[in-house]
Each structure stands twice: as structure tokens, then as C-alpha cells.
Symmetry: C2
Subunit: 549 residues, 2 copies
């Protein structure tokens, strides 16, 4: 049985694919499109090799180029929309950040303004989404749309209690964030006199959940939603129930030949945990293993608990790599802090299968696999399994932990049979106790289903749910369309919200088709066809002539 704190870290980290930069830096985040162009001359099975200086230069260039197209705005948001209790320090409002990028915003012949594409920010600095959400950028011109990227309260620079926000996390809930977004949209419309402009919400991962829920709860503010990799069905209390083991099953699937990985990989991964347990059983074994694996000298590796911690750390890497199992190289999953190769699960499986099949070989294989993620910068000189890929973002990760411990209480389990891990059953009691200890809050496991409806979403309209075959979150996604106006796209060979990203010449046919379907639905919701052809659309991002007013 896992200790609750380890469990929290693992579960809490799962969804946090996109971590925010340290807000103190305030730097825009890099865009993987540019980075991956360095890789374009290689192919899917290439190992990591790139020029860090070129990469850094291109990142800055690309990021600033997108940021320059946007205006920074701040608004007064209500800290607590649903009660009238006085918040701590009498802070009834806070300043919420959002970006408006309206160079392509059309004015129609009748004087009305074009549509609004609205990114429902999730658990990171909003500049991450601004820089990554190619689907919005690439279609702005053709639809004559203004882009709004709204930051989620408590993340990035939208801090209700400033630097002390983490001390007062009580108002960090999806309902409050969605009310911020609804107010923002209506304010924006009033200020710009564009009450008739259609609004399409976009979001990936937790942001996709918010986009879909915005359409359900605030249909007057949001006319349609592109909800990508949005696990709104990953909660307790569903009928039929959510399969808490689906995440691990999907990670396992990604390590099989069905997903293009080397045959035998998932079996080798499964064996590696036993190998690790055997080779770490005694104090003497652990001393030997420390040297074999080149563990950092200051990291304790003296108990069985340390061995378990190492295993969890390795497992977590595979969870992330599966989410980032994109067809081209990308730094999205590492938040710009290192690059994953194209189809990194396949690369990891190559490394795994290229190692020996004895205990030490298996352990070295799984460590190499995990290092695709942890040492994506190729700068680590030793293995530090007490540290994540991006230590700067601990704060953002911990805030997601708070959300998980309150209303986003998604169960997670592994069994070692249908997945390639070891038995880690879901224990609600211990998870609740962990949350009480960590945050002083008691999760309400049934709340999500009560508030968001579970599987009963058939009254909703104008939502495209997209889930990727390789994305471990797809098991919590909407995979069946309950009515013709809710579209469920299952994208073969796609990982975590690939469809939202910038177009890339290594994009699969399937993700291109998914985007075309999304665009056709957006056109239907807006009631206007996009102006230009596919070819035109992909060029639009390069145009620089402002069309304001």
C-alpha cells in the first residue's frame, strides 16, 4: 500500500501535464512547434539530439511573437461568487489577468463584430496556453475571431491574495473560476458592444473540463466548446462507474506494439518492478544499486520505502511520457524545460528492450525510459528521484493537489494485471485522510457528479469532446456522444490534447481530420463558414497586418 502522501503526489501530478512557470519570472513559455522543427530532419525513433542554443533562441522569438499580438488586461474579479462571507484580509475582489489578441477581429457589414475564441485557462500560467493553443491562433483570421486567454484564479499572476494566496486556497474551485470567466465574457461584450458575437470556449485537460462545463452551466456566455482531453467522467459515483484503473491501462497500451512500441515492452516494464524490489531488498543490495543507477550522493536510499519512492518516481515518468506521446518532438509536457522526442513511449520502449533481461538490465532499462522525461534537458549528472522534472513549479503542482483534495477528487488505481505496474488499489479512506493532513480539507467525493452531472450530460449542446488513443486520460473522457450536438472524437495515434496544438508537418492524418471536424462545428455554432481554405488557414498565423476595427 502506498503512503497517502506518495499517492497524492502521483495522483495530483497526473493531470498537471502543463505546469506553470515560476510566476516570479513572468517569462512567456516556449512553443514546441519551433523546438520540434529542429527535429524535423530526424524521425520518430531518433534519440534526443539538438542544439540547445538554437532552441532557446527560437523559443524566445516565437513566444514573443505570439505575446506581441496580444494586449494584457486585468480585471476585478469577485473572490467568492456564491456566498457573501468576508474573505480573509477583507479581499472581496482580486485582479485577474487575461490576454486579448484581436488583430483579426472582423467587423461585419452590419456593424457587428466577429466571434470570440475564449481559452478557459487551467492550472498554469495562462501564457502557456496562449503559446500552445495553435487551434485558436490558426483559425483566428479565417473566422475573423478575437482571441481571449483567461487565467485561472490562483495560477500564474491571478492571485486572489497575492503572494499569500497559497495560505488561503479556499476559493480555488472550478465553480468560482467559471463564474470569473462568465463575468469576464459578459464584461468584454458590454465594453466592446458585441453582445451578439458568438463565443467558443477552448480548453485542454482540466481546461477542457472547464470549457465543456462552461457550455453546460453558462450557455448564455458560451455558444460552443472545444473540450480536448477533458476527463469529466473520471469521478466517483458514476453509473456505470469510472474505471479508476483506466489511466494505467492506457499508459500500458502505449508501451505495446499496438501503439507502435517495441514488442514485449510492457511485459519488460512490468517485470522491472519486481526486479527493483528484489535488487533493493537488503541494505547491501541497495548500496550496490545506488552505484549501478548513479543515484545522487545526497539522496537517501537506505530503506524499502526509498525503493518504493524510486519506483513511484519511475512510474510517474511513464505517466507523463504517455500524455506527451506526440508524433513530433515537444517540450509541452516538460513545460519547456527539456524536449521529449517524437513518440517518446516508442523511444522509451526501444531503450527498455535494448537493455538486458536480467534484473539489473530491466532496472537500467526502466531508468533510461524514465530519464526521457526527467533528464530531457540532458544536464543531469546523477539520478535524483526525490525531485520532479521541473522543481520551480512545485507551487502550481501543489495547488492542483488542493483542487484534487477538494472537488477534483479523481480515483486512481493500478493492479499489475491489466496494466504494467504493481498493485496500488484505490483507498478512498486513506486518500481522504491524506487530504485532511495535507490541507485540512475533507474531499467531497460525490460532489463532482452532483455538480457536473456525471454521465447525464445529454441536455448539453454544442460541445466537441476530443480524446487521443494514446492519452491516458481518455478513460475519463466522453467517448460516446449522447446526442447529435455533442460530438465525441477519438483520435487514433494522438496523446494529450494534441488537437489543440499548432499544426506540424509530422501531424498524423487523424489529428488533421479531427481539427477539420472541430472547425466545421465551430462554423456551425458561429453560423458562419470560415473565410479561407485549409491552406490559407495554416498561413494565417504568419500574417502581421493588424485588422483592428
Amino acid at each position: 500500500m502506498l503512503h497517502w502522501r506518495q499517492l497524492l503526489l502521483v495522483v495530483g501530478a497526473l493531470i498537471l501535464a502543463a505546469r506553470g512557470l515560476n510566476p516570479a519570472h513572468g517569462e512567456p513559455l516556449p512553443n514546441p512547434l519551433v523546438i520540434s522543427e529542429v527535429y524535423n530532419r530526424s524521425h520518430a525513433r531518433v534519440a534526443m539530439k539538438y542544439d540547445p542554443i538554437l532552441r532557446a533562441a527560437e523559443e524566445v522569438q516565437r513566444s514573443s511573437s505570439l505575446m506581441k499580438r496580444c494586449d494584457l488586461h486585468w480585471r476585478h474579479a469577485t473572490v467568492d461568487h456564491f456566498s457573501w462571507a468576508m474573505p480573509p484580509r477583507n479581499m472581496t475582489t482580486f485582479t485577474q489577468r487575461f490576454f486579448v489578441c484581436n488583430e483579426h477581429w472582423t467587423t461585419y457589414g452590419n456593424g457587428e463584430r466577429g466571434p470570440i475564441f475564449f481559452y478557459a485557462g487551467n492550472e498554469a500560467d495562462v501564457t502557456l496556453y496562449l503559446n500552445q493553443t495553435g487551434l485558436m491562433w490558426e483559425n483566428a483570421l479565417d473566422f475573423g475571431a478575437a482571441l481571449i486567454f483567461a487565467e485561472h484564479r490562483y495560477y500564474g499572476e491571478s492571485l486572489p491574495f497575492g503572494p499569500r494566496s497559497k495560505e488561503h486556497p479556499q476559493f480555488l474551485t472550478a465553480e468560482q473560476a467559471m463564474a470569473d470567466y462568465a463575468e469576464l465574457i459578459l464584461e468584454f461584450k458590454r465594453e466592446h458592444g458585441c453582445q451578439n458575437s458568438s463565443v467558443v470556449a477552448f480548453g485542454g485537460s482540466y481546461g477542457g473540463m472547464l470549457a465543456a462545463w462552461m457550455r453546460m452551466k453558462y450557455p448564455q456566455a458560451v455558444d460552443g466548446a472545444i473540450a480536448s482531453s477533458a476527463p469529466i467522467l473520471a469521478f466517483d459515483g458514476l453509473e456505470p462507474p469510472y474505471d479508476a484503473g483506466s489511466y494505467a491501462k492506457a499508459v500500458t497500451y502505449d508501451a505495446t506494439s499496438k501503439a507502435g512500441a517495441a514488442p514485449g515492452c510492457s511485459e519488460a516494464v512490468r517485470q522491472s518492478w519486481d526486479a527493483l524490489a528484489r535488487q533493493g531488498a537488503s541494505s547491501k543490495d541497495r548500496s550496490r544499486l545506488r552505484n549501478e543507477l548513479n543515484l545522487c550522493p545526497d539522496i537517501p536510499f537506505q530503506s524499502k520505502e526509498d525503493v518504493t519512492a524510486l519506483a513511484l518516481w519511475l512510474q510517474s515518468a511513464l505517466d507523463y511520457i504517455a500524455m506527451g506521446n506526440f508524433p513530433y518532438a515537444s517540450s509541452y509536457i516538460t513545460n519547456g524545460n527539456g524536449v521529449l522526442p517524437p513518440f517518446p513511449m516508442r523511444v522509451g520502449c526501444e531503450l527498455m528492450m535494448g537493455s538486458g533481461s536480467d534484473d539489473i538490465g530491466l532496472i537500467q532499462g526502466i531508468v533510461k525510459f524514465a530519464n526521457i522525461f526527467y533528464n530531457s534537458t540532458q544536464k543531469a549528472t546523477c539520478l535524483n528521484f526525490r525531485q520532479g522534472v521541473n522543481p520551480d513549479t512545485d507551487e502550481a503542482a501543489s495547488l492542483w493537489g488542493y483542487q484534487w483534495c477538494t472537488e477534483m477528487f479523481m480515483p486512481s488505481s493500478r493492479g499489475g494485471v491489466t496494466d504494467m505496474f504493481w498493485p496500488q488499489p484505490w483507498n478512498e479512506t486513506s486518500a481522504v485522510e491524506g487530504c485532511q493532513k495535507e490541507w485540512g480539507v475533507t474531499p467531497r467525493p460525490r460532489w463532482a457528479v452532483t455538480e457536473w452531472g456525471g454521465r447525464k450530460i445529454s441536455t448539453a449542446t454544442n460541445i466537441v469532446f476530443a480524446n487521443g488513443e494514446y492519452d491516458p486520460w481518455s478513460g475519463g473522457g466522453v467517448l460516446e456522444s449522447p446526442n447529435p450536438s455533442i460530438v465525441s472524437l477519438f483520435i487514433p495515434r494522438a496523446a494529450h490534447h494534441l488537437d489543440l496544438m499548432f499544426s506540424h508537418h509530422l501531424d498524423t492524418a487523424e489529428v488533421k481530420e479531427a481539427r477539420a471536424i472541430q472547425i466545421s462545428h465551430i462554423a456551425k455554432w458561429i453560423g458562419r463558414r470560415p473565410k479561407a481554405s485549409e491552406g490559407m488557414r495554416l498561413q494565417s498565423i504568419a500574417r502581421s497586418v493588424p485588422q483592428k476595427n
Copy 2:
């Protein structure tokens, strides 16, 4: 210009048609059906005459007869669903009261249970709604439905902080109450294994708003809603805007011959205010007037402000009488504390026109008119214009004032031109200041439109909105159907949610037709036709054979 406090009292009181009994008494409320039977031998224009002892006996008999058919339940409700701040006195939950009346609850051949009729309690003790909502009772047998009457937090006996609840009103919001109801419904379904049972929400006035919003915000919990006299469009920020003067216009309409009142009545009422001002202009005049009107000796009547207070008090009576302008005698508007005659606006107008047309005659006329309401018990020996009709209920009324001062901030104005009153323009600034002074809260005038969508409700389905021609709240109701699944019934000759009440042989053809339409839509939502004919249905209330399980 009105003083803010007067304005608050007037506006705050408007919607509070149904006041709760003093919760300390805990007595069930009388049902007007029985009371009005005493009147059946008289006709619409009869003045008040009845046997108080007979009335009281029948009330108790009828009320206990309905209450006996129900089981009292309590549940743990979450004080704050949308944030995780610690409520005062560490009270994270409270006990919410609800009644379940399931003698007619069917079990179908396939083992599934029949539908659930759910009353979304509003701003009074829930027993009031239990005893008044005939539409639910009369259709329970035919639909094989269980009835649930859920009490709104902070009213009746559902007090989050016990007797100190009024000190901590912060969690008294519609959103919190609706989350209580959603949780209650899902809990009930889990406990009874009836997940597939359809749920129809019922409500009148603010309860009708809650019923409609439940269908909009929690469509997974509520399959359809009967929203009667639900002024969900009585808020600021609508496009086109809400006519804040519509309430007064409708009260005025009820005093015209188009609404069956004596010709010239509204004009006489309009003149009475000037007459009052003239006759109360000097200290000497006021002394004379005090005697003429038989004001209670201990009530000050020395200043022009006192004269204004008297005018507001009289005006308020007309507001209530218009809401209670039912075709038969009823104590609903007085909450059981006195009976209004059939079509009391017509009776009032008779009294008005029967008085002289000079200043004193007009003033005596308007006082007699108002006394239909204030002296409905016929026990008052003098006129006390500093006291409402039902002083016991000050607490409930004041809590509605809190709701008005936070999110239910409905504007109200009078002009004296399209209505029969005097100029009382809406002054948001002064209303806000009043709320700050009274409750220490600042209303958020735009919140209602943001949260509930204003006129943009076309994505909703399965709602019947019913509004009465005589009901002053109809101006804030949904009078146009935005889609075929949202039905708007405008019921001629009906006042405030008459359609929800028990059938009565003085019911108009129009209200009978409205109920038939409501029943047909309920049948559609449930997917089952009612079992019996209209005649059967009306008898069902009298049956006493329990059909549990």
C-alpha cells in the same frame, strides 16, 4: 424620493407573497381550499363574513391531513458548496428538513419506481408549500409519483446556524440552496435505488425561479420544471431591459374594468395619494386625519414622513392584494392570518368607489381598500401603519431582504402615469447604500444576469413557465417561449401562481386549462401518461389506501 429603508421594505416585501409562520411555533399552515369553502355560498363581490371558529377547525383538520401523509426527514447539507472556507462556528454542515409523501409512489412492472415531484422550497417554512401546492397532490396518484417538499436553507426549520442563523446569513444564496436540492435528489435516488425515476421540479414565485434554474443548472437531477409566477427576468442588465415599473402597472391594471374592477377605480386610487398629501400637509391637518382614520393612539403621525409612511403602507397592501387576486377566498397571501375575499381587487375597488370623491372620501376609500389585507382578520380596532399583516414573520421577511440585498437585487419603480401611484423612481445608488447600511453587503446588480442568463435561456428544455394576467410579477416572467420545449402560459384572470393551488369549483376555465397543459408536459417529460381521467385525478387526494412498495 423614498428613504432607502422604506424602499427596501417595499421592494423586499413584494415577492414575499408567502411568509413563513414563526418557526418557533412549528404549526402546519392552513390551506385556503377549506377556508374558502365557507365562501362558496357567497359570490365574488361579497364582503368578508365567516365563522372564525369553523375556519380554524377546518384548517387544522386539512393541514394535519396532508402532513399525515408525509414523512419528516432531515439530512446533512453542506453549508458552503462552492468554497472550502471554514464557516462560522466551524459549522460545515447543517440539518435540512424535507418531507416525503410517497403513499402513491408506483413500482412499475420492470421493478423501477415512479417519478418524483419535487417542490423547490422558497422563502418560507416548507409546510406552507406542502399544504398549498395542490397541483402536486392532485396528480400524485395518477402519475404514481412520490412527493418531496424540500425546505430552503435559512427558512422554516432548516437553519444553518440554528437560532443564530440570522447573524450569519452569508450562505443564504440561491446557488447554495439549489446545490442542497441537487444533493438531496441524488441522495434520495441512491437510497431508494430509483436512479431512473424522472424528477419534476415545482415552484411558485421565488420557488418557481428555483425550479426553472434547477432545470437549467442541474438538468441531470431535474427532468422538467413547472415554474409558476417565476420572475426570472426581473433583473437589471437584460437586453431589452426589464421594465422596473411593470409591477406597479400590473397592480394598476387589476384596478381597472378590464380586470373586472369598478370603472374609475385606478383613477380614484391615483387621486387618493394627492388627497392624502393635501390633508396631511400641516400639523393641524394630521391631527384631524388621525381621528378620521382611527389611527392607533401610540403611532406617531406628526411629520410629513409619517404621512409618506402611511402612503407606502397603503400602497404595499395593494401590491399584496393584486398578487392574491384569486377567484375564491384565500388566506394564502396573508399566510393563514386572515382571509381575503374572492377577487379582492374588485372588492377593494367597490369599497373605493363607494366612498366619497372628495379628499376625505378618497382617503377613507384607500384605507378601506388596504384593510382588506391588513385587517383580514377583522380584529383590528385601530389602524397601525407601522406594522405588517403578520408581524410574527418579520424574521423571514428580513431574510428575504438579505437575499434582495445580495443577488436578488430586483429594481422597482413607480411613476404615477402608467400606474396609479406616485413617482418613486428606481435609484440604484441609494438602494445599494441601504443594503450596505442594513446588512453590510453590497449588491451585485449584474450577477443575476451573469449567473442565470437573463433572456438568453433558449438552450434550456422542459420548462413550463406560467404567469397570471392579474399577477404583478408577470412583468418579470418568461412571456415568450424561446423554443418549443420551453412553454410560456399566460393565464387570463389568474393572480400569483394560482395554477399551483388546489382545484376549486370557482376556478376559472383558464386556470383549469393551464393545469391540463402543465400535466400534459409532465407526462411528456416522464414518458408516461397519467393513469386516470381528470375526474379521477381530482379525487385522488381523498384516497387513503397507502400504496407503499
